[in-house]
Amino acid sequence: MKKFLSWLLIAALALGMIGTATADTVDVLDFEDGNFAFIGASKGRPNADAATALEIVDFNGSKALKISAKGVACAGLNIIGLAGDKLADVAAISFDIGVENGADGKFYAASGYVYSYTGEAKDENKADWSVYMAKKNPRNVKIDLGAIAEDTCLLITEEAHAGNDAVDFVLDNIKLLDKDGNAIALDPTAEFKEAASGPDLSNLFALTGAVELPGFQKAAGAWAQDGIEMTQEFLDALVPGSVIEVDYKSEDGAMWLVFPWASAGWMRVGGCGNGVDAVNNSHTKAQIPYELIEQFCGEDKSTWGAMLQCESSTNWEVYAVRVGQRAKQIVLKNAVELPGFQKAAGAWAQDGVEMTEEFANALVPGSVIEITYASEDGDIWLVMPWAAAGWMRVSQGTALKMGGKAYITYEEIEALCGEDKSTWGAMVQCEGSSAWEVYSVRVGQKAEFDAVAGAVNFEGFSVSGAAWAQDGKEMPQEIVDALVPGSVVTISYESEDGNIWLVMPWAAAGWMRVGNDGADVADGSIAQVTYEQIEALCGEDKSTWGAMMQCEGSSAWTVYSVTVGQAIR
């Protein structure tokens, strides 16, 4: 009897555990409990609107998740966390999708995509969804999926719509299905976290020798200021040629500095009529150059006061403030990779590979070697061990470093190894004063992005074309007004071969390409064409350039946005 009761107890406990496991999973995500931690706004697409918002709403008689944005709404779904150990069984996703009526109460058709990433190479797969009829709103969509790759999520976007304004869409009843169409048990406690990616440095300078202002984690309401006193180290780094950088968020994207103790008077800088700061496209970083502060607070830095504050026209939060020497972001043109240069070594150890003929041919006057790396102390340099001039370190401690890359020019090598490149030896190595790892080495012609202040968005300039096809829009007045000497047209894009340029088809000087002769600065996702480049081809009189601005590329291309702003030089 006792043995029987023991077995009964064990069986009951086991059943209880199974019961507990089942109770934690669900077959469908219906948002009735208000939980949507497993899905969030994502910047995983180049054209994603960073201000994509998610909220639970009532739709068609039940709770649903509304996803909205002024531009391309993009939400990321943590499919790996949801499926858990059943991920390999996932063969499809199904969900109900609907669109909300526009501001005028009318139905507007909308469509978008579900992006999934599969296989070891994380190949991108794109399946479309559409809600195109009021009588079929919402509707159920089922999309087949392949073997989901590690560290990826599904991206759900809205990218096309009838009417002029973006359409809010809603999701409900999300299921993951196995190959037989059965719903897979989902872990609703999974959370969506955007995979870390490089900071958005669009429109900004790269900073070198940056010094943080410790403790500047502040938040305040609209038109309220808060800040801390600058440390001596920070003040010592705040010199001509430097820039103060603020990591922040604010409801309207605006951010500027306030010097409340300046002898010149309580002073805003970088906004509200006192200059314009450079802000990245995602409105998360702002930069204010030393010279702009000097312009409003006076040439004598000692009269600016120790207090540094931030302010915005809407509720704001600042996460970090730093100051550093500004440098233009570098992009290599016609870059040639040195294959096999994935090396790592300890402090003061060298490793490298022999130059290929292609690499050596590209290493010419005016070129620059780019090293993508990481090291404990941030330093890295080249070693030319077979140079006829002797075993040679190049740019030890002095290489220009920004964003995880170091740049060493042909001329820097020439200065140490001699004018005759054939005597430098074929071996190229890296070395550092701390443990280091190099991910790639490339050589190419150096081009530099301008940091841009006061960027004006060219509304609606989201177009695409096949190779050598043009598309664009007529410039509205604010874009025409922003096109002045010193201004820069910045294009956010993708293209198969990385090329993109402008076309001014109505120019009195004739249909004109600008920037396709290698003069543009482009890195495959951002391109800049200057006012002066347009002027050189279309003439000094801007009124003869024609109202139409187009883009074109030598391969299939997509432009997500265009802005015009003043280069900070």
């Binding site: 479309d128 969804w129 559409s130 809600v131 096309a160 009838a162 004739g510 249909w511």
Partner: protein
């Protein structure tokens, strides 16, 4: 008497009410596409069209909607259901037997497979056999020729839709006159404009003008990606017009050899390795070629003739010469491009749908002069010449090409063919055909599967 009158009056009233009850509500027709088209039953004024300025033609088009509504007892709506929405709707609602739309706009690349897979109404089953549409004689709509003769895909007919997307053969008139060569248009009239004659002309026009041993003027120059389809059409053939590849055909072999010989024999301008298309299209401007494959937009790019002419010579459009397997009367002269319309299978009363759809596009009530108002077409005339007679002639040539449109999926596959390498002699025609016929077939399988 009063009672009789009252009874009659009551009867009349009852009959009137019954009549009203029996009169049908207008049929709502939905035309699904992925942009905005005006005008339709939802537009309240001519101002509904963006950019409309109240021109007579706009007002007429707006008012015509009411005429169509009344004649056919319909309301019709051009609905932007997005590009994905159109394909989604075609692939799902038609198969389900209840098409969402009564007419769909389609692109050939996916419209042809949809139609061939039974999702479109064959208008041969709907229209009278003598209907002008079925003989390509309708002034309002035309259809795309498909291998089996099906009438699935419609194109709106007007002069602009005919002339657009044509790339005629063009020649420098003065260069030919100086060389004492007869105008090739005259030869074409007499049926004497052939590939052999074209080669003779190229031989006469290819010159080293300064005696330095380097050719300065070539008989022909063009971007191969532009001209290839026109040359094989001139030989009466196609590359990818059906579900079977035609690269391996003898006629394509003839065309490939003809073109390769032109280049290898030094009669055609050598295509540069970089920016070839950018250089080849404008060779004529520097008089580096006598003949070229051109287009109205190419001549307009530098405003060669619009307003103040920039060139001191005339460019004249002419038929492509006829190849040994071609036929001047039946050769196609243009590859179908752009968007088309189809009436889905299973739509209710397809005859009414067709009639109302056609009636919308016949806003000019068969007045072709109104449809093809030169003011509307001014650019097409004026961009190719500053001389009235040549404007007319060039326009007519483009229009003739447009009247001989064929479907060919070359654009889906041309980037995969090593045409530039071939023209340099790195492949024989037979080698190119053999090595790449499967590439073409695979592309067609993707379309026709």
């Amino acid at each position: 008497m009063k009672r009789i009158l009252a009874t009659l009056l009551t009867l009349a009233m009852l009959l009137s009410i019954a009549g009203a009850a029996l009169a049908e509500d207008p049929r709502d027709l939905v035309y699904g596409l992925w942009w905005e088209i005006h005008y339709d039953s939802d537009d309240e004024s001519w101002e509904a069209a963006e950019g409309a300025t109240g021109k007579d033609i706009e007002i007429q088009q707006f008012e015509h909607v009411k005429e169509v509504e009344e004649k056919y007892n319909v309301k019709y709506h051009f609905e932007n259901i997005t590009y994905s929405g159109v394909q989604d709707s075609i692939n799902n609602s038609i198969l389900a037997g209840e098409p969402d739309c009564d007419v769909y706009m389609v692109e050939l690349g996916w419209g042809v497979p949809a139609a061939m897979n039974g999702l479109a109404t064959d208008l041969r089953d709907v229209l009278d056999p003598d209907d002008p549409l079925l003989k390509h004689e309708d002034n309002v709509l035309d259809f795309v020729n498909l291998p089996g003769g099906e009438v699935y895909l419609l194109k709106v007919v007007d002069a602009q839709s005919q002339v657009e997307a044509t790339m005629p053969l063009a020649f420098n008139l003065q260069m030919l006159e100086e060389a004492n060569l007869e105008d090739p248009r005259e030869l074409a009239e007499r049926g004497e404009w052939t590939w052999d004659k074209f080669i003779e002309y190229c031989q006469a026009l290819t010159k080293d003008t300064n005696g330095d041993g380097v050719t300065d003027v070539y008989g022909y120059g063009a971007w191969p990606g532009d001209c290839l389809p026109y040359w094989y059409m001139s030989n009466g053939t196609n590359l990818a017009a059906t579900d079977k590849e035609n690269l391996s055909s003898p006629e394509m072999g003839e065309t490939l050899k003809f073109l390769q010989d032109l280049w290898l024999n030094g009669l055609a301008y050598p295509v540069p390795d970089e920016n070839g298309w950018d250089i080849c299209r404008w060779l004529y401007r520097d008089k580096k070629v006598a003949f070229t494959t051109s287009a109205a937009w190419i001549l307009d790019t530098n405003k060669d003739y619009l307003e103040e002419p920039n060139l001191d010579f005339d460019m004249v459009f002419v038929d492509y010469p006829v190849g040994p397997s071609g036929n001047a009367e039946t050769n196609s002269m243009k590859i179908a491009a752009g968007s088309f319309w189809m009436i889905p299978a299973g739509v209710k009363d397809p005859k009414l749908v067709y009639d109302a759809f056609r009636a919308h596009w016949n806003w000019y009530n068969d007045d072709l002069e109104l449809r093809d108002d030169p003011e509307t077409l001014a650019w097409w005339y004026e961009s190719t010449s500053n001389k009235l007679d040549l404007q007319e002639a060039n326009f007519e040539e483009m229009q003739k090409m447009g009247e001989r449109t064929m479907v060919d999926f070359i654009n889906v596959v041309i980037d995969q063919l090593p045409i530039l390498d071939f023209l340099k002699g790195n492949y024989t025609p037979a080698q190119l055909q053999e090595e790449y016929k499967q590439v073409v077939q695979d592309a067609l399988d993707n379309i026709f599967k």
